[in-house]
């Protein structure tokens, strides 16, 4: 009886192994394919076989040197600048807002939180149209400065996760510090913030990745200002029906270049990400 249970288990494990291996291949294959294609030395764009017959590094060199149609290096630099600046501003604003809602008690607190929740329910898109006109009036439309402002302005609305974190930091710390004569300002900067490394890392990560991978807002605000384009826009334009024949390999190379840093960062910080998205759910 026990033996048969063991065999049963071995068989079911074997089946699971097979299924998981097949699924893993399905999930990894497209990524392998794009890396492989970016090194392909084939002449024609669309070929009748999958694995290329010759290999080259030329597409990466082309990507960064032939900048007449698509200025990839410029776009990469733009994306980097946007991500870094909006990451700094957003991190401060998210942490400050979430700490205030979590720890400080004032009359309008509930009202502010409800307004933030309602604002989050409008499709982000709707405001984008109006933001374009507003930036146009200030003279910042079709400009990465405008993009930085917009990304950092909206970030504070996603304070839920870090508020959840601050909620779990014991209040006794604040009380002890208050008895020792610390002001609320000092409590935040000197006591709570240094203790909250995981949530700071998580916030920095998400606020850096969000502009890096955003497509819609950039498309909406930059329109035809090609010298301000971000990588997402350049890659999207490369897949245009008339351009894709010429730029297919550059597209693959460009995708690899933009994906590698984010992928590495994400895999390294996976733990924080999982804590972040499940943090709100597990409490229930």
């Amino acid at each position: 009886m026990i033996k048969s249970y063991k065999t049963k288990r071995a068989i079911s494990n074997a089946i699971v192994y097979v299924i998981l291996t097949i699924l893993s291949i399905i999930w990894v294959l497209p990524l392998v394919w794009i890396v492989m294609t970016s090194f392909s030395g084939e002449e024609a764009t669309f070929i009748d076989h999958v694995i290329p017959t010759s290999w080259t590094f030329q597409h990466y060199i082309d990507l960064f040197t032939q900048t007449d149609t698509f200025n990839y290096p410029r776009a990469f630099l733009n994306t980097l600048i946007i991500s870094i600046f909006s990451c700094i501003i957003s991190t401060f604003s998210v942490l400050m807002v979430s700490y205030t809602f979590s720890r400080l008690r004032f009359k309008a607190r509930k009202a502010f939180m409800n307004v933030a929740m309602i604002l989050g329910m409008f499709p982000g898109f709707m405001t984008m149209i109006a933001i374009y006109y507003i930036l146009k009036v200030i003279g910042l439309s079709q400009n990465i400065v405008g993009l930085i402002i917009v990304y950092s302005a909206g970030a504070a609305l996603s304070y839920f996760i870090s508020k959840g974190f601050f909620d779990t930091v014991p209040r006794a710390l604040d009380e002890a510090a208050t008895i020792d004569g610390a002001t609320k300002n000092q409590i935040f900067w000197r006591i709570i913030l240094p203790m909250s490394k995981p949530i700071v890392v998580y916030t920095v990560l998400t606020t850096f990745i969000a502009p890096w991978t955003d497509f819609i807002m950039a498309r909406m605000l930059l329109r035809d200002a090609t010298d301000q384009y971000t990588v997402a826009l350049v890659l999207w334009n490369m897949t245009d029906k008339e351009k894709i024949d010429t730029f297919f390999y550059n597209f693959c190379a460009g995708s690899v270049v933009v994906a590698v840093p984010i992928t590495a960062l994400f895999l390294k910080m996976q733990k924080f990400y999982v804590e972040g998205i499940t943090g709100g759910a597990v409490k229930g």
């Binding site: 288990r9 494990n13 699971v16 192994y17 998981l20 699924l23 893993s24 399905i26 999930w27 990894v28 497209p30 990524l31 394919w33 669309f46 009748d48 604003s93 400050m96 807002v97 700490y99 205030t100 400080l104 607190r109 502010f112 604002l119 329910m121 409008f122 499709p123 982000g124 898109f125 709707m126 405001t127 984008m128 149209i129 109006a130 507003i134 009036v137 950092s152 302005a153 909206g154 609320k184 300002n185 991978t213 497509f215 819609i216 909406m220 999207w236 297919f248 597209f251 933009v258 984010i262 992928t263 895999l267 990400y273 999982v274 998205i277 499940t278 759910a281 597990v282 409490k283 229930g284």
Partner: protein, 499 residues
């Protein structure tokens, strides 16, 4: 009926009981809703009444400084030796009046008509053409919205000014000195620290979320479309015209809207649950007892999350294109003679829909794995043990233990995924661009969601009014869904537990 009675019922009786109690609860819920609304309204008007009573009363009993601050803001401060604070108040009042006279007032006066003078060419006395600047409806609407917000802020400031004056008088009567500026600033770092912390984020959100939102909501009630483009043409108010056009008025719009709404809802349901259920199954397989190399399998899946979404989507679109690698493989295997148009087959739009859902499953499963793995490990093992002893098969265990437990814990997350899918712009736009096209739809293709339709209306056709109206409809759908579920969620109700 108490708990023990309930447990003795059979499943069908339980179901009937639940159904009955659901319908019995409806009138009560409705009446308590209206009672709450009524109470809120009463409280609101009582509040306003009290405010005016205090307003007049304070003026009557107040001293010179208080009386003066009803007209000249800040008097209550600099007459009581709070020079800096007083000057700030006064400066703000002067700035507000200057703004209203020089800028805001003019725009606000045109708010009712949104401009009357069309730009064009006129002939001067010598018969030469002269370009005449007309009214710009868009700017009028934008700046009057801004002015309205500024007026509300100014009224708030005015009330604070009076409150400060009254408090100062009370302090002096009690024999104390009012705070000087340094003491006030110190308060901002301690008791009033929330003001310091929220000042910048609130201003930014006000300028780049609330102002645009009000502006767009107003646009939904105008005719700001491709025929009415400022600065050369004017647009004006049309009331609920856009909404009635979308629902019934304009056959083309109504048909397009109906089709897209149905597809949006179908998409949201199918996309959310397919990713969720399949993802849970894969997560269970990865976490199966006695399985080795768990981390290798998990990393394979997580890779798909880690790569930026626009890259994977553009990549998938390329692979599934007519000359793409998927067709090449299928041809090489001899399965097909001519390439399948996965995303562009106009004669069979369902193929594109199914393709998009399959690709979305590819993208969505890793997210589910990431978010449910921890929860799955927390399910008490003895539940499974007793189920096994009772002879439950793995499928029954999954349906009766795993799924109910997971859904109970992850409902908020499920709802936000559902709302996220209704607004899932990236997947549709980057994969199919809304195609395959359909001539019977207005500015939309077979796989367009409401949000991508909204995008196309503004970007390709400048129909901002329709786009804004659709945005409001999407908000109503998402808002209703979130309100119903979030209010019934424990983690939201218990927020105060930490406070």
């Amino acid at each position: 009926m108490n708990y023990i009675d309930y447990m003795q019922l059979n499943p069908f009786q339980r179901f009937c009981y639940k159904l009955k109690s659901f319908f019995v609860a409806i009138p009560g819920a409705l009446s308590s809703f209206f009672k709450a609304v009524g109470k809120g309204l009463v409280a609101f008007f009582v509040g306003i009444g009290n405010f005016f009573k205090n307003y007049v009363n304070n003026f009557k009993v107040g001293g010179l400084a208080t009386k003066l601050s009803y007209v000249i803001m800040g008097s209550g401060c600099f007459l009581n030796k709070q020079i800096v604070k007083g000057i700030i108040f006064l400066a703000l009042e002067v700035a507000f009046i200057a703004y209203m006279i020089g800028f805001g007032g003019g725009y606000l006066a045109q708010f009712g008509t949104l401009g009357t003078k069309t730009a064009g060419t006129e002939w001067d006395a010598n018969g030469m053409p002269v370009k005449v600047e007309g009214d710009n409806s868009m700017l009028i609407l934008l700046f009057s919205t801004l002015t309205l917000i500024i007026i509300v802020l100014f009224i708030y400031l005015y009330i604070i000014n009076i409150r400060v004056a009254v408090n100062n008088e009370k302090t002096i009567k009690a024999g104390n000195k009012p705070n000087n500026i340094i003491q006030d600033l110190k308060l901002l770092l301690d008791e009033k620290f929330h003001i310091t912390m929220l000042a910048v984020p609130t201003t930014l959100i006000g300028c780049f979320t609330i102002l645009p939102l009000i502006f767009m909501i107003l646009i939904a009630f105008t005719n700001f479309d491709h025929d009415h483009q400022p600065p050369n043409q004017l647009f004006t108010w049309v009331g609920f015209g856009n909404f009635s056009d979308i629902f019934v008025g304009n056959a083309m719009y109504a048909q397009t809207f109906g089709k897209i709404l149905v597809w949006t809802l179908v998409w949201a349901v199918v996309a959310t649950f397919s990713c969720y259920i399949l993802g849970v199954i894969v997560a269970l397989m990865i976490n199966k007892k006695g399985l080795k190399c768990k981390s290798v399998f998990r990393t394979c899946f997580v890779m798909a999350v880690a790569v930026p979404q626009f890259v994977t989507l553009l990549l998938m679109a390329q692979m599934l294109s007519q000359d793409g690698v998927v067709n090449v493989i299928l041809e090489n295997l001899g399965l097909i003679d001519q390439p399948i148009k996965f995303l562009t087959d106009t004669s069979n739009p369902n193929l594109a829909r199914i393709t998009i859902i399959v690709v979305n499953i590819w993208i969505g499963i890793p997210y589910t794995i990431l978010s449910t793995t921890g929860i799955l490990m927390n399910i008490p093992e003895d539940l499974y043990e007793s189920a096994r002893i009772d002879g439950a098969t793995p499928v029954v265990q999954f349906m009766k233990i795993t799924l109910p437990y997971l859904i109970f814990v992850t409902t908020p997350q499920l709802i936000s995924t559902f709302v996220g899918n209704i607004n899932n712009f990236n997947v549709i736009f980057l994969l199919s661009g809304g195609g395959p096209s359909n001539v019977h739809m207005y500015q939309a293709g077979e796989t367009d969601l409401l949000v991508t339709w909204l995008f196309k209306l503004t970007m390709n056709n400048n129909d901002n009014n329709l786009a804004a109206a659709i945005g409001i409809i999407v908000f109503v759908i998402c808002g209703a869904l979130s309100l119903i579920t979030f209010n019934n969620t424990k983690s939201v109700k218990d927020e105060g537990a930490f406070g």
